[in-house]
């Protein structure tokens, strides 16, 4: 009986196992190998040791530019997006009528915003003479279009991400609804103000959900591509200011045919995401509160 059921389990699992081996594990190993080679897709890979990595770290200013841009983008977009998500979730949590409507309406940009269509809208709105530019000009802040200014173009990409705060907001809202009402009633009896309740009940009880959102959005933000591609015409401009990491990786692999170099970049990204995730988990010990494990 048990062996028969074991067998059944592996039958159910077989597509996944095949995918995990052929499309995940083996490609990871191959890309690790390729990262130590020179490979242009046509000639056989040529072993070069750590040259790709050495070149990346010491001789390639565009690599560092892409690292800096991505780091800046993550640091701007993720906190702003989560802050917007949290504030709106808190507001909606105290709305009685129409909550379902608001929830869906605020969520819509999260699905639409990933599209090329919206990225093109963004480019036009933040372009010279576009809506945002015109509004800012009318109050005396004439920038001549954000997407043409090296100092502002990346912020355009970040704002598109912030606009998609609906997904984390929905998760916050679900988390808020699971906080027991008795906690607030007890606090109210003790004379705690609303502000006090937010700081002492809501935020600690919500911290696991905040942590989940933070990890998820950070990992996603590291891989931003489509809006940077659209806003910069695929080149990462102006002056490489929107050359995010994945855009440069795409450029190395599929424009310059440096598959080995791009593989090395992919591994650096993998390690970076792993490190940042590990750091977030480590920091979570001091600020994430799990009710079932006690304080």
């Amino acid at each position: 009986m048990t062996t028969r059921r074991q067998g059944a389990a592996w039958v159910f699992l077989s597509p996944w196992v095949l995918g995990a081996v052929v499309l995940t594990l083996l490609p990871m190993l191959i890309s690790l190998y390729l990262s130590f080679t020179d490979y242009d897709l046509f000639d056989a890979p040529n072993w070069v040791g750590i040259r790709n990595y050495a070149q990346m770290f010491t001789e390639d200013p565009r690599f560092w530019r892409s690292v800096g841009n991505t780091a800046l983008y993550v640091v701007i977009a993720v906190p702003l997006q989560l802050a917007a998500a949290l504030v709106v979730a808190l507001a909606l949590n105290s709305v009685k009528r129409g909550k379902g409507f608001y929830r869906s309406a605020f969520y819509a940009p999260s699905l639409l915003g990933a599209s090329m269509s919206i990225a093109l809208v963004w480019r036009a709105m933040f372009n010279d003479g576009g809506t945002v530019d015109s509004v800012l000009s009318s109050v005396g802040l004439d920038l001549g279009g954000w997407v043409n200014q090296p100092g502002w173009a990346l912020l355009t990409v970040a704002l598109l991400t912030v606009w998609q705060f609906g997904a984390p907001m929905v998760i916050f809202l679900a988390g808020l609804q699971q906080i027991p009402r008795e906690l607030y009633e007890a606090a109210a009896v003790d004379g705690a103000s609303r502000w006090r309740q937010l700081l002492s009940i809501t935020l600690p009880m919500l911290s696991p959900v905040l942590f989940f959102n933070l990890v998820l959005q950070t990992i996603q933000a590291f891989q931003v591509f489509t809006p940077a591609f659209a806003i910069s015409g695929g080149k990462g401009g102006p002056a490489d200011s929107t050359l995010v990491y994945t855009l440069y990786l795409y450029d190395r692999a599929f424009t310059a045919s440096h598959m080995g170099y791009a593989s090395a970049m992919a591994w650096v990204l993998l390690v970076a995401i792993g490190l940042v995730t590990a750091l977030l988990f480590r920091s979570s010990r001091s600020w994430v509160f799990y009710a079932d494990k006690g304080a």
């Binding site: 048990t2 059921r5 074991q6 059944a8 389990a9 592996w10 039958v11 159910f12 699992l13 597509p15 996944w16 995918g19 995990a20 995940t24 890309s31 390729l34 897709l41 507001a91 709305v95 009685k96 869906s104 309406a105 969520y107 819509a108 699905l111 639409l112 990933a114 599209s115 090329m116 269509s117 919206i118 093109l120 809208v121 963004w122 036009a124 372009n127 003479g129 809506t131 015109s134 997904a167 929905v170 998760i171 809202l173 679900a174 988390g175 959900v209 989940f212 998820l216 990992i219 591609f229 659209a230 015409g233 994945t246 692999a253 598959m259 791009a262 992919a266 990204l269 993998l270 995730t277």
Partner: protein, 276 residues
């Protein structure tokens, strides 16, 4: 108290209007003559420029919009079928069956949710290239039949864990094997999670730009999302009208899906972060 509530609704609606402005702007721009797209702040065009849509329907680079939409539909439909089938199979094994290595394999599956796609991208490209599948739809569809979207495996596992075990035990006592139990009892009960998986897969695949950019290069194979790429390189004013008409057409299926299934989408997203 009443005033507070009115104020809250007022603020929510105001923020919502601001958020939805870019969408209204897109629809308005798609009907504006090219000279007005950037020039004015008002949403209403001076005249309805139907020629934008006429031009968009003619297509891009000699490929009709009907062809582009068909290509998108084949890829998204294939991906939906693949994900629903393969992810529900794997999820059932992880959620309900016992087998050796279940713990480590489940941990590996969860870890692949966080794995950046780029770590496997280039070898996958090489494999599909050697199989002669570059510039076909297979690289977008085939991986879905092998449950590579771990996020959905996880989503369905979470759902299946909430089903009462008694039903399956009763089925087993009545002589159902694991496959009958799965197809007759578990799968029908899992329908909400499967619908969520199907809709998300459809929308994400439809929107996915990166994979299509890499694998498709012949205009006749382009998807509607990829066709918009032609407008990325040129930012000439004359292309604005058709560009936004095309953008609206590309967005329309997603909007319709969203309006029809928003309950499943919002709840699917909410559940993904909880009950962990």
């Amino acid at each position: 108290m009443r005033n507070r509530r009115v104020l809250l609704h007022g603020v929510c609606l105001l923020v919502l209007l601001l958020m939805l402005y870019p969408l209204a702007w897109l629809v308005a721009a798609s009907f504006k003559p090219a000279s007005e797209v950037l020039a004015s702040l008002t949403l209403l065009p001076s005249r309805l420029a139907g020629e934008n849509y006429a031009q968009a329907l003619n297509g891009v680079g000699g490929v009709s919009v009907a062809q582009l939409l068909t290509n998108s539909l084949i890829i998204s439909g294939g991906a939906v079928l693949g994900n629903v089938l393969s992810c529900s199979l794997a999820a059932y094994a992880f959620a309900r069956l016992r087998f050796r290595l279940r713990g480590p394999l489940f941990a590996f599956m969860i870890a692949t949710i966080m794995l950046p796609h780029h770590a496997v991208l280039i070898p996958q490209y090489i494999v599909f290239n050697q199989l002669g599948m570059v510039n076909t739809f297979w690289p977008m569809i085939l991986p879905k039949f092998l449950a590579t979207d771990a996020f959905f495996v996880f989503l369905i596992v979470q759902f299946m864990r909430g089903l009462p075990r008694e039903l399956e035990e009763a089925a087993r006592i009545d002589g159902c094997g694991p496959f009958r139990t799965f197809s007759r009892i578990v799968l029908p009960l899992t329908r909400p999670a499967l619908i969520t998986t199907a809709i998300f897969t459809f929308i994400w695949t439809w929107n996915d730009f990166f994979t299509q950019l890499i694998y498709l290069f012949e205009p006749a194979k382009f998807t509607i999302t990829l066709a918009l790429r032609n407008f990325v390189d040129t930012s000439s004013q004359s292309a604005y009208g058709p560009m936004f008409a095309m953008s609206v057409i590309a967005l329309l299926p997603i909007v319709l899906f969203f309006l029809a299934f928003q309950r499943f989408l919002v709840e699917g997203m909410a559940n993904s972060g909880l009950k962990g």
